[in-house]
């Protein structure tokens, strides 16, 4: 009696299986390769690609940092501090009030003129709104003074010339000269005294160091003609009654 499985007899099927036994090892190897590639290699390759991309960004960042560091090391702190001190006198961080009044009064007195009227609207103490408005207009904020002085024409000309060469930076918007009494002239001057708040963030490691352009260097050299006004020496001291009587 012969055992059969369906159409193929068992003996023959066992024989057939034995015939393909040599394929077991290659199939096992291929299966291992496939599984390990899927479970280990694929994530690893993905990880490498991500890391290489990140590394490229890191190298770029490192290059920028090195560039910034080299630029910083090339700067002279004392020279910079002197320049900053000078530009801060020309373009102060705060509104020139009452400093502007002191400057106008001093110039008027030194030119032998008569100060008829001064009008100024110092505006809000809190600067956020006006600063943002000026920023929106891309303009440097300023404080406008309306001044009326009386005197000789020569003195008025000198006064106008001196106004634009004094620090904080003054720009004359309008001059209206009219004939006064006894050969004198009365002049109404509308002038802007500029100021600029400090930047909101002074330093940031990640941002590149701003470079001073040749044009800005030229501007700095040109500022030599503007004489900083020493406010402290022209302010009249007001006694409070609490001064030390023994102080020399």
């Amino acid at each position: 009696m012969r055992l059969t499985t369906g159409a193929i007899p068992i003996k023959e099927s066992v024989k057939g299986a034995k015939k393909y036994r040599f394929l077991l090892l290659p199939i096992f190897i291929v299966a291992i390769i496939f599984l390990s590639a899927l479970l280990v290699l694929k994530p690893k390759i993905g990880d490498i690609l991500t890391k290489r991309r990140a590394l490229s960004d890191q190298k770029k960042q490192l290059a920028e940092l090195m560039q910034k560091l080299a630029a910083l090391e090339g700067l002279n702190e004392y020279e910079l501090a002197a320049k900053v001190e000078r530009v801060l006198k020309i373009l102060p961080a705060e509104k020139a009030f009452p400093g502007g009044l002191v400057i106008i009064r001093h110039l008027v007195q030194s030119m032998g003129l008569e100060l008829v009227d001064v009008k100024v609207d110092p505006g809000a103490i809190f600067e956020e709104t006006s600063q943002s408005q000026a920023k929106a207009r891309k303009e440097t904020p300023f404080l406008t003074y309306h001044v009326i002085v009386n005197g000789s024409q020569e003195a008025i000309k000198d006064f106008l010339g001196e106004l634009v060469s004094v620090a904080p930076l003054v720009r004359i918007e309008k001059v209206a000269v009219s004939a006064g009494e006894g050969g004198t002239a009365e002049v109404g001057v509308e002038l802007n005294i500029f100021y600029l708040s400090l930047p909101p963030t002074i330093t940031s490691v990640g941002t590149p160091l701003p470079k001073i352009t040749p044009e800005e260097d030229k501007t700095y050299e040109g500022l030599a003609s503007i004489k900083p006004f020493e406010l402290e020496t022209h302010l009249t001291p007001i006694s409070s009654g609490k001064e030390n009587p023994f102080a020399l």
Binding site: D158, R171, E173, A179, P199, P210
Partner: protein, 181 residues
Amino acid sequence: MAKGINLLKKKKAIPVREAQLMRFAQVGSVVLLVFYCLIVVGIFSLWLYTRQESQEVDRQIAVKKQNITDLEKIESLQILLKQRLASLTALVGKKTADYPKILSYFTQFPSNEIILDEITLLENGKVTLSGQAVNTLVLSDFLESLVQGEGDDLFAQIILSSFTRQEKGNCAFNLSMEVQQ
């Protein structure tokens, strides 16, 4: 004569093609495994190298950041200087009228012939002038000096806005001009 009996079963001969196929499959699979192992080693080496390189770059970044932080004062001074100079460049670069020079020009005329009632000078170089001349001849000379003399170098455009002859023979006039930039 005794004859030996071969009790071993006769081995069935494998066909040559089948034998070649077996050898190819076995050798090929081993070669494939070796090749795959090489690839795996390569990939792991690359991963390790990338990781180490990334760590090294990270370390260098941290060092540079620390160095930059140490120079924070210089950086803040530079930022401040840049901010101020950028604004000042825009302000100083803008041409403004030379007020003393313009006033000097108008005050040179004899005051008994030309009476300047009001001169208005604007920052954009626009000038308006109102005055009186003792007669039309004086006014004519005044206008001529404006157009042909020194005034020609000083002003780009001169417009006589109004002219009124008064009863006493005086002439009231208004002029508008633009200063040459």
